[in-house]
Subunit: 329 residues, 2 copies
């Protein structure tokens, strides 16, 4: 077992989180993560209404008696979902952990904390982490350039971003983006994090609610098989490379406007997309960590393997590198 | 002390290398690295002729009696320098370690190895590392997206690239790009490397032969203050951000041809550039690791600090995270 400020703060066994993932963060995956001793987050906006979210939280409770949380991602859209109502559903449910992400979370952070909920805020830059710390969040999840989904526009990988953030952030911090195994967990701990968040790796598990074709694609893909789309609109997203993502990249290179490409990414906007099993039908998120994913285990197998490998590295492999010099003997 | 396959193979105390750096890899820096127990490499092409290289190697010998090596970087230029003559100068000098980099090193690797010289090949992709291993090099230096200079065109950061390479490479491997401290060294070892190569970090030391203004710029700059230039020519280089690099990026974005921008980068092509102290006069290399550089120590202070911090992390901080479960007691 590996105990950190993260495991202490959130009352879980292992320093591993499964953060919010649109369409994938449902009770099936989150309860499996909870039962395996890590911290899973249901994705609020995957549920069509606040009422549906309340039901999903209740359903997850029937599947585990261990702690789990809810992710609330605030998107800068013209017609925003009813965030305050989703937030109320989360607070009323009695969930004790929330992951926030996106723009201007302050109002939500304040409300959650007022109700005794621990808030971990996910962000992609040291300055955003500092601003979240000032606004009173309990922990940070710092997300590097490697990640699936939105890496921001700075392109700073975890190897730099984690220690740069650790130099300035005082509250507990998870490292996110590029993590799949015990090697990564030890690296994150060495760089100054208190644990890791895994996304793509949890998508390639038996319990993740998406068609097996997507899981097998993540196993088959190497680390180079992702694309950055929407870079020219300063809303970059890392997605699995396929014919559609390549088409978007090519159109953006040619100076296309958002209206010219947005219709191309609508294919998998919804659960239906992930149920078809057609990995070429539209855009779907996957991180560079695909290159380190070689199988589709159960969540329990995965978490046990990550912890076991991390312990082997920390307490056996690294320990064996030590040479006590004559002078120090 | 930390002993790895790298320290064993190259007969040095510490798992740290200072690889080739144009204009900076001279006897002053390399001998300081050697005297501090790490492996420095003189940069062959920084010397105007093979004869000058032979003299520089001899000069370095007068400054240290510990092992050091020479870097030979093979560039795809129309009028190449006399590589075979530089190679002969290295072989005749009796140096026992060479770092190769660049295109088609096979002929050189074969010759060096025939003369009992250990060759470490620097590359930026798993497939290139595999190809170098097949061609018989003794070790790999795998260079991630974070690095100064040429990161290649795949943009895979060390957090992914190191374990992906470690999954396939059998010979010893250094991790390069993004390393500046003991946290990074432990992360590299955890991810499967046998040590780290540092570049930018060694440039910000007292012994590095460049004007103090450059060193102070690296201290002042954060991790975001780099630019990728020549991306549109598929010859990407990461450089410190300044007015010239921003101009190049802007011109490339507008579809500029190589002829339209190449004159802009000639400013610092030569030792003179680094002696002027004008950090805006042209393009100069620096990695994202600038964000982790906060001072200009001596090489000895730096190496001792990195090793001390790594030992503290491995044998104290990580060790203290361990909780032996009831079942295992």
């Amino acid at each position: 077992m590996i105990k950190t400020r993260f495991t202490e703060m959130f009352g879980v066994e292992h320093p591993i989180a499964q953060g919010g993932m649109q369409w994938v963060g449902t009770a099936e995956l989150v309860s499996a993560v909870a039962n395996a001793g890590a911290l899973g987050f249901l994705t609020a906006l995957t549920q069509p209404t606040p009422e549906a979210l309340a039901k999903e939280i209740a359903r997850c409770r029937t599947m585990t008696d261990k702690p789990f949380g809810v992710n609330l991602t605030i998107l800068p859209t013209i017609n925003p979902p009813p965030y305050a109502e989703y937030r109320a559903a989360i607070i009323e449910s009695g969930v004790k952990a929330v992951e926030t992400a996106g723009y201007k979370p302050e109002e939500h952070v304040t409300e959650f904390r007022k109700h005794g909920i621990k808030v971990i805020h996910k962000c992609t830059a040291v300055r955003h982490a500092l601003s979240a710390e000032r606004m009173g969040v309990d922990a940070i999840s710092i997300d590097g350039f490697e990640c699936a989904g939105h890496p921001g526009e700075d392109d700073i990988p975890g190897l730099i971003l984690i220690p740069a953030a650790a130099d300035k952030i005082k509250i507990p911090m998870l490292a996110s983006g590029g993590f799949a195994d015990g090697r990564g967990l030890v690296a994150a701990l060495a760089l100054g994090a208190d644990g890791v968040n895994m996304g793509t790796r949890f998508c390639a598990t038996k319990e993740a609610p998406l068609h097996d074709n997507f899981k097998q694609a993540m196993v088959a893909n190497d680390e180079r098989a992702t694309d950055l789309i929407f870079r020219s609109f300063r809303n970059t997203a890392r997605v699995a490379r396929n014919a559609i993502s390549q088409q978007v990249v090519e159109l953006e290179r040619g100076g296309a406007k958002f209206e010219d490409v947005s219709h191309l990414v609508k294919g998998t906007r919804g659960r239906e997309g992930l149920d078809t099993g057609d990995t070429d039908m539209g855009i779907w998120s996957a991180g560079m960590v695909q290159g380190l994913i070689h199988d589709v285990p159960s969540v329990k197998e995965l978490i046990e393997r990550v912890i076991h490998e991390a312990e082997e590295i920390m307490y056996r492999r690294l320990a064996n590198l030590r040479v006590v010099s004559k002078a120090a003997e």
